[in-house]
């Protein structure tokens, strides 16, 4: 365990501390500015990975309709579905690991940054004393530079933000960044999962920001803003664009007020999707012109949704015929 600690110190903590201190001396002893610049440097260094992650996320987003189709097609064959999904991802050059790797790599950096901030700002005497063993002897500046100035704007970077502005900023910027990459899905389970991810992470980090030194919250906010900008240039506003557009349900409601049969058929389609029934396929197979009866004046209402429904409808028709007789 001690060896792990030494490796951690040598590879991450000591370099982070020394870079922070040197940067601070260059940036007019302004530690807040130092954190922001360091965030740019970290993101710059990890840009190739981040770009890969963003492209992978975007690719996953674009694959969603195809994956949904596969799920319908192989609803009863789990193994085949997995194979087909893998094949589809391979074909499209998309890997789920591509989304997770950069996130995993960033985690130790957060923790090292947290420890560095605590130490360089002389938060606790024991931690500050330990700092002396992390400074690079040949770098004369780092010894005389610490402890660093902890005030930045309204913040004491060694303490949590009591005004709660930083926790709110952390939550909002993280939500925006998440929203941009959350794929729209027709699958209710996936929708729930996506929604949970979209809200859980910002709320969780917002809560963390209430207890952590605000220097770390500043890193999170700067980091989120950089991600938003990078995501915009790689894949546009993504899911964030829909926030300012009417939601599909609202659009449907508006559309329902007008007697357009096509809209009503779309609603029926959704119900069919949810149950994944064979009847729809059989219906489609029965229409050679490919119109599937969409243009019927009754909006497709008379089409049955399942085999049972067909049987029920058939029985009802027979009884009606008997009554007429």
């Amino acid at each position: 365990m001690e060896v792990v600690g030494q490796i951690w110190d040598t590879i991450l903590l000591s370099p982070m501390i020394n870079v922070l201190v040197v940067l601070s001396s260059v940036l007019f002893n302004n530690f807040g500015l130092t954190i922001i610049v360091l965030t740019f440097i970290i993101h710059g260094a990890m840009f190739p990975l981040t770009r890969r992650q963003m492209r992978a996320s975007k690719g996953m987003q674009e694959l969603q309709p195809k994956i949904a189709e596969l799920r319908k097609k192989y609803a009863r064959d789990k193994q085949k579905l997995a194979q087909e999904q893998m094949a589809l991802m391979k074909q499209s050059g998309v890997s789920p690991a591509g989304c997770l790797l950069p996130m995993l790599i960033q985690m130790p950096i957060w923790i090292a940054l947290y420890q560095s901030i605590i130490r360089v700002l002389a938060y606790v005497p024991e931690d500050f004393l330990k700092l002396s063993q992390h400074l690079y002897t040949p770098w004369s500046t780092v010894f005389s530079q610490v402890p660093l100035e902890s005030s930045f704007l309204w913040l004491d970077l060694a303490q949590a933000d009591t005004l709660l502005i930083m926790p709110i900023l952390v939550g909002v910027t993280m939500w925006m960044s998440q929203k941009m990459v959350t794929p729209d899905s027709t699958d209710p389970n996936q929708q729930t999962q996506g929604r949970m991810m979209l809200w859980m992470m910002p709320i969780m980090f917002g809560f963390f920001a209430m207890s952590f030194p605000s220097g770390l919250a500043l890193y999170w906010v700067a980091s989120n803003i950089i991600r938003i900008i990078m995501q915009y240039f790689i894949g546009g506003w993504g899911g964030l664009a829909t926030v300012f557009r009417p939601r599909p349900a609202e659009a449907d409601q508006k559309a329902q007020k007008r007697p357009v049969p096509v809209e009503k058929k779309q609603k029926t389609d959704k119900a069919v999707d949810a149950d994944i029934v064979i009847s729809r396929e059989s219906t489609e197979e029965g229409t050679d012109d490919g119109t599937s009866g969409d243009k019927r004046p009754d909006g497709g209402r008379s089409y049955p949704d399942s085999i049972d429904a067909i049987k029920r409808q058939s029985r009802r028709s027979k009884s009606r015929r008997r009554k007429r007789r």
Binding site: M103, I118, P125, T137, S144, M204, F207, S211
Partner: protein, 408 residues
Amino acid sequence: MKTRRRVLLHGRHKMLSLVIILMVVILTAAGCAGALGRGVAQGWAGGVVTSDTVIVGSRGGKIIALDAEDGTIQGDPAVLVTQVPSGGFGCAAGGASGVAIYSSPVISDNLVYVGGYNGKVYAYLFDGESLATEREYAFPSEGYLTGSIVGELALDQEGRVFFGSSDGKVYALDTKLRIQWVYDTGDSIWSAPAIQGDSLFIGSFDKKLYALDIADGSQRWVFETKGAIIAAPLVYGDKVYFGTFGRRFYAVDTASGEEVWRFPADDTDENKPKNWFWAKPLAANGTIYAPNLDGKVYALDADTGALTAEFDLGGPISSSPVMVDGLIIVATENGDIYSLDTADNHKTLLAHLEDVEGEKVYEEKVQAPLFAGDGTVYIHTFRDNLWAISVQTGEELWKKSLTSEDSE
């Protein structure tokens, strides 16, 4: 069908869920440390020896009186408690908590004074054998200072109390802990004041050494360096000596505030000590002994600043040394106790402290200032043990755990 789909979804998001859980666990653990914040501060107080009693501040916020002969605890300890707000995520419950003590207890007449990391100074009555469990005086009487008290308290001949705080201020209090004057340096103070005659000298994070008038706190002079000053200054003859985070050691004239010499004299990095000056220096026979976190004690000529000897003790020295019977006793963070003979600059390893619990052996870590009396040096360790070691032989006279049941 729905069950199968759930299984499929579960499999697909298994990795993502694991990552999220891992993140939550790690960040919550780190968050708890952050939430506890000041709870991580545990203190490293030394103590004071008076007649046959040793008074020491434990790491659990207790002031304990012990028999100097055998380490028996005398009476109930005085317990410093503070109100702690509850931490985030429910990992730190609010309520009363023991105060970390970095400032060693000091004694004047029948009062023992101690500064708490919570930003409060306490005074307890001492009857010559044990301490009163209820405090006699406190400053501030209600609430706390905005800054913590990390440096030692200093007393003048009239028993007045002087100290610096992380709020950047130097405070002067009378014997009943009523405020006399305040001087604001504008940056945190962890250094202890040094008093000579009617002057007080104290260092600050702002890289300056301040000389103040002890009567009203007016500024006499300010000496600027290139590093924060945490080590307590030493007044010896007509000069004040102190080391800085800039890896330099200075001698300044007490009257004028003019620099007399600095070590190293030139600006080349090769000659510089390798780390900060943290512990208080000592003086003997015209020589200043300056401990450094690089593991060395530099012996410097008090008049010229010339390096006369260098003792490599092999471990960082953050604990202030003490002088007993012409010997300078120094402890390293590794638990090695050395005696440096001021007559011939000879070093001797007195003891290596190890705490044995059953079959387990723990290295003792020393950060608290040493204190001594009657040929014995007392060492308060990181594991909250108080050791009594003979200065002449290095023999362990006794060892007492300050967290044991009888110290409750």
